[in-house]
Structure formats: C-alpha cells, structure tokens
C-alpha cells in the first residue's frame, strides 16, 4: 500500500528560538528520505514534533489524507510511526522477544503471559530480517548493532507500521553492521514504508537514500534527488551563504602589543598543566575537539574551578584569583559557552543582566543601587552592541539567542576588562549576528583588549585569530600562527597531536 506523509507548515518555538519555522514538504512510501542540515538546523526537533515528543507550535501532519496529532510518542507508535534513536530505548534485562512485544505480550489462559508464543512470533520476524539471534537471548548480551536491530524489529512487529525514522543510526556501528542495517532499510523500503534517515555522513546518504531534504536554521530549504545533486551543492544549501567574505572584510588593522597575560602550568581537576601567553590586542584562538579541555583551562584561570597548580601573571604581576569575582576585579572575564545556564540570569531583564557585574560600582556604601547609573549603563550597552530589544526592561529570555549573547558581552565590556575570554560565542546564533560578533571581536582587539576565542568552528577560529593554540586530551598539543593555519593542520593537531609533514 502506498503512503504519503505530509508536513504542513510545521513550526516549533522555544523561548528566544525558532527551532522550526514553517516547514512544509512530503515524504512518500518506498523512498528513503534523508534529513540533512547543520547541528541545530531542526532535524531532530522535526522528528520529535512528528511523534508527539514535542508539540508543534503550529502546523499539522497529514498521513494518507488524515490529520494526525500525537500527544505522546507512544500514541505515534500505536498509529504506525516509530523513531529509532541514537540512544537505545530498550530494556537490557529482557529478552529479544519480550522487548519486541513489550506491553503487548501475547496472553494465554487466565491472562498469563505466553512466552512461548511470543518467542515463536519473534523468531518469524528475526528470520524475516535474516539475523543470527535467538528470541530468548537477553538484549544485554547482544552487540550494540543487534540491540538496534531489536528496536527496528519492535517497530516492524506492528502490522500498521507506516513511517520509520532513523536518527543518526550509524553513530556507533562498524562498517559491516552498517551494511546489515542498510539491508534491512532496503527491505523496509521494498515493503512500502516511509523511511526517514537523519545523518551527517555524506557517503551513507549517497548510498542509502533516494532523496535529501535540506534544512537550515529551522527552515526547510529544498528536497533534491540524491544521485542528481552534487555533495558540494547540498552543503552549500545547508550552510547558506559563504562565510569566506565575512572573514575577508574584517578590519584587522591593529598593532599587537606586549605580553598581557601569562599562564604558567595552570591545572585543575579537569585539565592538565598548561602554559601560554596572550598579548595586548591579540586574538588568540583555542581550537580542539569537544572535550579537549579548552573550557576547563579557562575556568581554572578565572577561578570558576579550583586551580590546582600554576599561576596567572597579568601585566607582569602575579594574580590571586580564587573566584570569578576575583578574576573580574583583575580584569579577566569569561563569556561562557552554555548561555542558558551559565550566561544569562534568566529571571532578569536585559538591563539587569548587563548591570549584574557592576553592582559594586553602582551601589553606595549602604548597598543601595543607583538606578539612574544602571539605566545609563544599560542603554549604552544596548546602543553600543546594537542589542535588539523593545526596551531595557524586557526579560532577557524574550530576546533571540544572538541578542542574549550580545547582552552578556555588553555586561562584561562594561567592566572594562583587559582579557576577554569568549567560549564558543557564536554557537546557536544566526549568520547575521555572527558577522556582527566577528566585527566586535576585531574592535575589542584594536582597543587593546587581549581576546581568547574558543571555537569549534575551524573557519571561524582561522578567520579571526592572530595565533591559534590547539588542545588535545586536556593539554595544549601545539600552536600555529595565522599564516600557517589551515583546517587540515588544526585538525591533525586536535586529533593526533601533531602536524603531518607532507
């Protein structure tokens, strides 16, 4: 039987973020449709609104002409829509058959669960799938790949399965396991299921999918036929405009001064001893894989985590930093990566968020806050950083992510810092706001501030930094000048700890 799943004007809003914005397209049975897009483009959110994990803010789903609305993923499964996630959603202590028929085990006389019957039913499916496993085996004794197969069989065991979506299914599979998975996907396809396949791996998309739906910043861009559209074209569609020009047009005309900050053997519980220097007016990039210890090193420097060894020397003087408060007094400030939990004070207005670090300067000796001064600082910050807000008294969470981030930067710049540490400052903000940030960073450096830029986006860190330090395994693995920097040698420092000589 033919099926059509129609996405009609689906939008999903979170405070300050349009995760999905008016997404409309159709998926047909007998086709494998890939969802392609950068992190945060909305692919997973779209799947979650489809199966009732999230409720769409507006829009509807039409399956075979009928409008579907699910309050829970369970309801979706009952109606034949299943999602196979990266994380296994099965019960390890139960057998294969028990997992497949979880919650609807066949019952024998007196309503007692009939395990034998379940095993017989399960072994039929296992045979169908051509897998060398037994229905009685406990799932915990299976490999990850087979555990995933059990999940697929669980979805497949429902007679009414129409839509099956895979969210990054191959993340932890070996090549031969991926091949086995593809065999099953082809089988599902031949049986007329609608198959959605979310992945970042272009070669897999080339191999298994028929069409690719491309997403960018919560928008649906287009659907293309897999064989007919070159990969470079798809990537261009998902990234949107080319960022190259943005970097080329930055005003980088400045003089780099004396050593401003010297970090000697600084370590904490989370990072090994590291040393580096930062000069006045310099943008020092920190590159490396997620978890390489970049954030942790900075947290140790500003006293957010306890410094175990080492010292921080600012303008030739040894500092005593035991808390972010001390660091701020010395002129070292950090804009954290996790804006939601560590950056914004969520119950505060934009103005109060900008002013929070200036409470000492803004209050008299009895502790009374000078609200006029606060208003001045807030208005200045909003103007200088062109924060888009209807008024300074708006709650900060009402703003878009980029504008929230600008308010945090405004907060720190108002304290007149010497060293500004930016941890993934452009994560999750749109391209327009990104280029504003890049200009800001260059301006700060020109004013003589030492800027440390942690970024996982290679073009960003290469495009902005005067010098780049790469970390691997919680310590610095190398340093590259702006002239030598390329994505290849940054990545090889980050992944194997050295630059391959070619």
């Amino acid at each position: 039987m033919e099926h059509v799943l129609e996405f009609q004007h689906i939008s999903k809003y979170f405070p300050g973020v349009k995760a999905l914005d008016d997404v409309s397209f159709k998926a047909y049975s007998g086709e494998v449709l890939a969802f392609l897009g950068e992190n945060g483009a909305g692919k997973s959110t779209l799947l979650k609104t489809l199966n009732g994990d999230y409720q769409p803010t507006s829009g509807k789903y039409i399956l075979d002409g009928q409008e579907k609305h699910f309050k829970t993923p369970h309801e979706a499964i009952e109606e034949g829509i299943s999602i196979i996630y990266q994380e296994r959603q099965i019960l390890l202590e139960l057998s294969v058959a028990e997992n497949i028929y979880l919650g609807r085990m066949p019952l024998g006389r007196f309503g007692i669960i009939d395990t034998t019957k379940a095993n017989v039913m399960a072994s039929k499916i296992i045979e169908d799938f051509g897998l060398p496993i037994k229905p009685e085996t406990k799932v915990k004794d299976l490999s990850i790949a087979y555990q995933q197969m059990v999940e697929i069989m669980k979805a497949y065991s429902r007679d009414n399965l129409k839509v099956i979506a895979f969210d990054e299914p191959t993340a932890s599979l070996s090549d031969s396991e991926i091949e086995a998975l593809f065999k099953i996907i082809r089988k599902l396809k031949s049986e007329g299921k609608i198959i959605i396949y979310v992945s970042h791996r272009m070669e897999e998309i080339e191999e298994i999918t028929d069409k690719v739906a491309i997403f960018k910043d919560g928008h649906y861009v287009d659907t293309v036929r897999t064989g007919e559209c070159p990969q470079s074209e798809m990537i261009r569609m998902m990234v949107g405009r080319d960022l190259g020009d943005i970097y080329n047009n930055l005003d980088r005309d400045k003089t780099i001064g004396d050593v401003l900050l010297e970090v000697r053997n600084v370590s904490s519980d989370y990072v090994k001893p590291n040393s580096f220097v930062l000069r006045k007016g310099e943008v020092l990039g920190f590159s490396g894989l997620v978890g390489a210890g970049r954030t942790e090193l900075m947290r140790a420097i500003i006293g957010a985590d306890k410094m175990k060894t080492g010292e921080v020397i600012l303008e030739g003087k040894k500092t005593e930093i035991h808390s972010p408060h001390d660091a701020m007094k010395q002129g070292i400030v950090l804009v954290p990566e996790d804006r939601k939990l560590q950056g914004i004070i969520s119950n505060f207005s934009v103005a109060d968020n900008i002013n929070i670090s200036l409470l000492d300067q803004h209050s008299d000796r009895f502790g009374f806050v000078n609200e006029k001064e606060e208003k001045k600082t807030a208005e200045e910050g909003i103007r200088k950083f062109s924060i888009k807000t209807p008024s300074p008294d708006k709650k900060i969470v009402e703003l878009s992510g980029g504008n929230q981030q600008k308010a945090i930067v405004a907060r720190w710049l108002s304290t007149d810092p010497k060293v500004l540490i930016l941890d993934e400052p452009t994560k999750g903000i749109d391209v327009g706001a990104k280029s504003e940030f890049y200009n800001m960073i260059c301006k700060f450096a020109k004013q003589g501030i030492g800027v440390i830029l942690i970024s996982s986006e290679l073009p960003e860190v290469i495009g902005l930094s005067d010098r780049i330090i790469v970390m691997k395994g919680r310590q610095i693995s190398g340093e590259i000048s702006r002239q030598e920097a390329s994505e290849t040698n940054l990545l090889s420092l980050a992944m194997i700890g050295k630059v391959e000589k070619s």
Partner: protein, 323 residues
C-alpha cells in the same frame, strides 16, 4: 528593579482576603471587630517575621524548616537568661547572636556539605528543638522581668508593639530586597546560581547572609512570643515554618526561585492568619484545622504552578514577537 506595582496576582490576593473576611463574618459576626482584626495582626507578627526570612531564602532558591524550633529555643533562652539576672537588652543581643549562629550552621550545611536546604534545616529543626528542651529541662521558664513582659503588653496607638515590629521589618527588609545590591543578588542566584557566580557574585556569601538574617528574625520572633506568653516554652511554635512558607508561596514567591516580592508576602501573611483565626472563631476542631491548613498550602502550591505555567507561556509568546 522590582517596582511596587499592582498586578493581577496581588489583586487576586486582596480578593481572597476580602472573601475570607466575608466568609467568616457571615459565620461569626464578631469576626469583623477591631479587637479581632488586632488579634489577627498579633498572630501574624511572629509568622510575619519568619515569612520575611523565607521570602529571601525561597527567592534565593533555598528554604528553612528550622524557624519553629529556633523561635521556641530563643524564647526559652531569653527567659532563662533573664531569670539569671542578665539585663534585658543584653539578653536580647545574646539571643539574637545565638539565632544567627544557628543560621550560620544552616548555611554551612548548605554551602560546604552541599546539602539541600530542605534536608539541612530538617536536621537543625530537630537539633534546636532538642536544645530548647534540654536548656529548660522540659519545663516552661516563667518570665518575671518587667521590661521583658512590657514587650508583650506595650501598645502604641492601640496596636501591640509586636505588630509594629513586624510591620517595620516588612518595610525595611522589603526595601533592602527591592533596592539594594544584596536584594538584587538574592534574585540573581535564585534565577541562575551558576550564571550569577560566573558574573562575579558570591552565591555562598549571599546564602550565608540570608540564613543569618533568618536566624536573627526567628530570635526576635521568639523573644516577642515568649513575652506575650509570659514564659519561654520549649514546645511552642511547632509548624511555624509551615504557616510562614504557605504565606510566602501564597504571596507569589515561587519555589522555583528568583520570583516574588515583600508586598506579596505581606498579603500572604494576612491571608493565612485571617484564615487561621477564622477557623478558630467558627469553632472548627483543631484537628480539622490541620487538614484545612494543608488544603491552603496545596492551594498555594497549585497557584504557584499555574503562575509558572502562565509565565512560561507568556514568555514564549513574547519572545516570538522579537524574533
């Protein structure tokens, strides 16, 4: 930051207070007499002092279950000291310092042993109650000192001193909460503790100060209560924190932290005392009063939940406008 403004929540509170007055006046016409209204205020004075402390603590994302024990302990301590001939003023000072020490211990458990405030203060609730009994051997300590007794009797403009003290504290601590660096910091750490720390605030210090304040308020409350009772009673003030927390939540402070103000707390105090006094006046058996009070707390928590849902919904709508 927090401007005193009349919003929907406050109007609902005022309406609830009016409704309670109408209800109990219909059931007992003496309810709306001046004497009774003053009685309500007297009953509200001790709860009020504690609720001020709870306003700070709960906005800061903390809590305190020890005030009932601490108030009783403070009354016993003050009565004992006076009975040994310690001058009244010095007695008050010592008792307040003792209360602050208890606050310091609570803060220590929260900040350094990393206990949830709820659990930490459950510990001190029991320990302090124990000390109250130990200090007096389980028997109430009679007060003979005339100055001390005057504290319970003195009236200014026909309103007892204890009520004036409560009102004064509401105003002073209300202003501190709304207008000072300390007040602002309370809201900040209640909203996002880690973000506030990274922004250069010192959450541990702010929490410590809030508990110190609560300790002092409980001590003052305990002294006034014992003066009114003419004795320090180790078994007194059980469930005091229950009434205070109910009042604070009714007043619009959220258990989620970061939200609320002193004006709301004041209305909450009046509402809960009007309710409690009314139950007694219409002869609701005291066992059933517990049930009714539980119902009121449930109502308070439910409104807290509804308000939170509404805030989130409004926020989502507003944030979309700015995209």
């Amino acid at each position: 930051m927090k401007k005193l403004k009349i919003n929907g929540d406050k109007l609902v509170l005022v309406a609830a207070i009016v409704a309670v007055f109408i209800l109990f006046t219909t059931l007992n016409s003496n309810y709306l007499s001046l004497t009774n209204i003053i009685n309500i205020l007297i009953a509200a004075s001790l709860v009020g002092l504690v609720a001020i402390g709870h306003t700070y603590l709960i906005i800061a994302g903390q809590n305190d279950l020890s005030p009932g024990s601490l108030a009783a302990f403070s009354g016993v301590l003050a009565a004992t000291l006076v009975s040994y001939g310690v001058p009244f003023v010095l007695t008050c000072l010592i008792t307040i310092v003792a209360g602050m020490l208890v606050g310091l211990c609570n803060a220590f458990m929260v900040n350094k042993i990393k206990l949830e405030a709820f659990i930490a203060t459950l510990v001190s609730q029991s320990v302090i109650r124990g000390f109250a009994y130990i200090l007096c051997g389980g028997k109430p300590v009679a007060i003979a000192d005339p100055t001390f007794l005057l504290l319970g009797k003195l009236r200014i403009l026909n309103i007892p001193l204890s009520v004036w003290i409560m009102l004064l504290c509401i105003v002073v601590f209300g202003i501190v909460l709304a207008k000072t660096k300390f007040g602002r910091s309370i809201y900040a750490i209640g909203g996002s503790k880690e973000a506030a720390r990274l922004a250069g605030l010192n959450p541990q210090q702010i929490i410590r100060r809030s508990f110190l304040m609560m300790g002092a308020l409980c001590a003052v409350g305990g002294i006034i209560f014992s003066a009114r009772m003419n004795s320090g009673q180790p078994a007194a003030n059980v469930n005091l924190e229950f009434d205070a927390i109910t009042a604070v939540i009714l007043g619009g402070v959220s258990f989620a932290g970061g939200v609320g103000d002193m004006g709301g707390t004041f209305l909450g105090i009046i509402l809960i005392q009007a309710f409690n006094t009314g139950l007694t006046m219409v002869n609701v058996p005291s066992f059933w009063q517990y049930v009714a009070k539980g119902g009121l707390l449930l109502f308070a928590l439910a409104t807290d939940y509804v308000r939170k849902q509404r805030r989130e919904k409004e926020l989502l709508e507003l944030s979309m406008k700015n995209l």
